[in-house]
Amino acid sequence: MRKASTSRPRGTAVVQRAPAVSEQLVDELYRGHALRLTRMALLLVGDQPSAEDVVQDAFLGLFRGLGRLNDSSRAVAYLRVSVLNGCRSVLRSRQRARLRRAAADELPVWSAESAALAGEDRREVLQAVSQLPRRQREVLVLRYFLGLSDSEIAVDLGVSRGTVVSTASRALAALARKVGEQA
């Protein structure tokens, strides 16, 4: 059985549906979850400014979506999915930009600062992860960074639990090959 690298934040019951106090609730959610979500976004987009922007946009989206959330405990899941979608938008923008540029001008997946902090061995792993297909990367980050269960990942990604298991399995096998391990 896998172990989550970090404990999953709880306490999402603070969310109410009263729009008049939504700013305060968003503020509380931000203080409780922004760092973790920003780190998740960093792992997906590879640079801090984009990660912070994605998370800020997700919380701004919460102002609009809060009144429509019929289950207050879903606010964090709503934010997580918003961040995932925001990261996809960033990556799509980069892909478009990449098409307009020569191969030598390709955008870095990881900023120099992030890579330097990670160290050689970790950089190798991160580089290998960055070369995986988007969905595989998302599954790995949700499972091994956020510590979500496969069922939770399935809900977030809008796929079946079986798809999550098989995607993770393929991702780990590919990763093992890339970093020289035997799957």
Binding site: R2, P49, R64, E113, A118
Partner: protein
């Protein structure tokens, strides 16, 4: 198909470790503060107040107009770029060592706020509200190297006075509140503001309908001493001056001056000791440069021995280029790079340096999406791709890095 139990624990552990180490590059201290509804655009703020049907009806023409705009933009911007091939610049997420945030005025009266932008993405991360709803911001400048800034805001429209305020930008982009500077109010509308890197000297230019003529002033903050100089007294084609910059210790003021009749911009660049007595602006100043191309913008280096000069590439136009000149000889030391396409609209660009004088943030009113960072040592230019570009105020410099 393998189950997750079959996967080697070692790979999973390396993955967790790499994710954790990479993620910890971001700390709670780095994060900007929580967003507020004010951070949303006016469109986003108003849409929820409408009924869904009204929203749809209202959005249809907007969407149609947006489609047309997208087609036009694609035809005029994207297609030529694709046809011309790669621009030879590397897109990235900001220059290493450059400030993470800058302050800028939007120039939209309904906002009446001073925005804090993330340098790497051009996104607004926070706003500084005006001291009072009727007190619009006029200008902003960096003061010193510790993320302290000065903003000028109308103190009294009737008396035509301006109050200066100090504020700081925190590590996460959150601004402090405005604190009035303990200096006398300035008469007139502040059109430009510049601060020294040591944080001791401020330079400003005032004009506007309530000022008899353009006045340039310097404030020594330690002594609260203010010295003013004027240049020209009006006429059909009055002499113009501006583009103020200070050396790091505030001992010298750089500016452009010349006739507004020159279609290629002001041609002369001057340096004035800030200890000079008040009076005519050029009486104690030294002319350090005269260019036939005209000068769009000029920035004195921190030492004052060099200056960064934005010009057209040729006397009758061409691309907008940035060069390094000597203030001693008036000769060009080297070309730093091409920063704009130029053209009939005199599409000059504004720029603002960081406190260390090592990087330049380049922005443009005529190209609102045009935001670039330049390393002044190497000339390396990084375009910032932004979906929410800062829209600056006319031709006046209105951002501080």
């Amino acid at each position: 198909m393998k189950g997750r139990e079959d996967m080697p624990a070692q790979v999973e552990e390396r993955l967790r470790d790499a994710f954790r180490a990479a993620a910890e590059a971001i700390t709670a201290r780095d994060l900007p503060g929580p967003p507020t509804p004010r951070d949303r655009s006016w469109v986003a703020r108003r849409l929820p107040e409408w009924t869904p049907r009204a929203r749809v009806r209202a959005v249809i023409p907007v969407v149609a107009a947006a489609c047309v705009a997208v087609i036009v933009v694609a035809a005029t911007l994207v297609a030529p770029r694709v046809l011309a091939g790669p621009p030879g610049r590397v897109a990235a997420t900001g220059l290493a060592g450059a400030p993470r945030f800058f302050a800028g005025l939007t120039g939209k009266p309904q906002d009446n706020a001073l925005n804090i932008y993330r340098s790497a993405t051009g996104r607004v991360v926070a706003s500084v509200p005006a001291p009072r709803p009727d007190r619009e911001f006029e200008a902003v400048a960096r003061l010193g190297g510790d993320r302290t800034y000065v903003a000028a805001a109308v103190a009294s429209s009737r008396a035509c006075t301006t109050q200066l305020y100090r504020f700081t930008i925190g590590p996460g982009g959150r601004p402090s509140g405005l604190i009035p500077l303990s200096v006398p109010q300035i008469t007139g509308v502040v059109m430009e503001l510049a601060g020294s890197a040591d944080g001791n000297v401020l330079a400003y230019k005032v004009g506007g309908l309530c000022a008899p003529h353009l006045v340039t002033g310097v404030i020594h903050l330690a002594t609260r001493q203010i010295t003013t100089w004027s240049y020209g007294t009006g006429g059909l084609q009055p002499p113009m001056d501006g583009d103020l910059s200070l050396t790091a210790d505030g001992s010298a003021l750089g500016f452009m001056a010349g006739s507004s009749a020159n279609p290629y911009g002001l041609a002369n660049v001057w340096v004035l000791p800030t200890s000079a007595p008040g009076g005519p602006l050029t009486r104690h100043a030294r002319k350090v440069l005269h260019l036939r191309t005209g000068v769009f913008r000029v920035l004195l280096s921190n030492t004052g021995s060099q200056m960064y000069v934005e010009t057209a590439a040729a006397p009758r136009g061409g691309a907008v280029i940035l060069s390094l000149y000597s203030t001693t000889t008036g000769k060009r030391i080297r070309l730093l790079g091409r920063i704009g396409p130029g053209g009939m609209n005199r599409a000059e660009l504004s720029f603002t340096p960081d406190a260390a004088g090592k990087h330049l943030l380049i922005y443009g009113y005529f190209h609102p999406g045009h935001l670039e960072e330049m390393n002044l040592s190497t000339g390396r230019l990084i375009p910032v791709t932004t979906a929410q570009p800062p829209v600056m105020d006319g031709a006046q410099p209105s951002a501080a890095w």
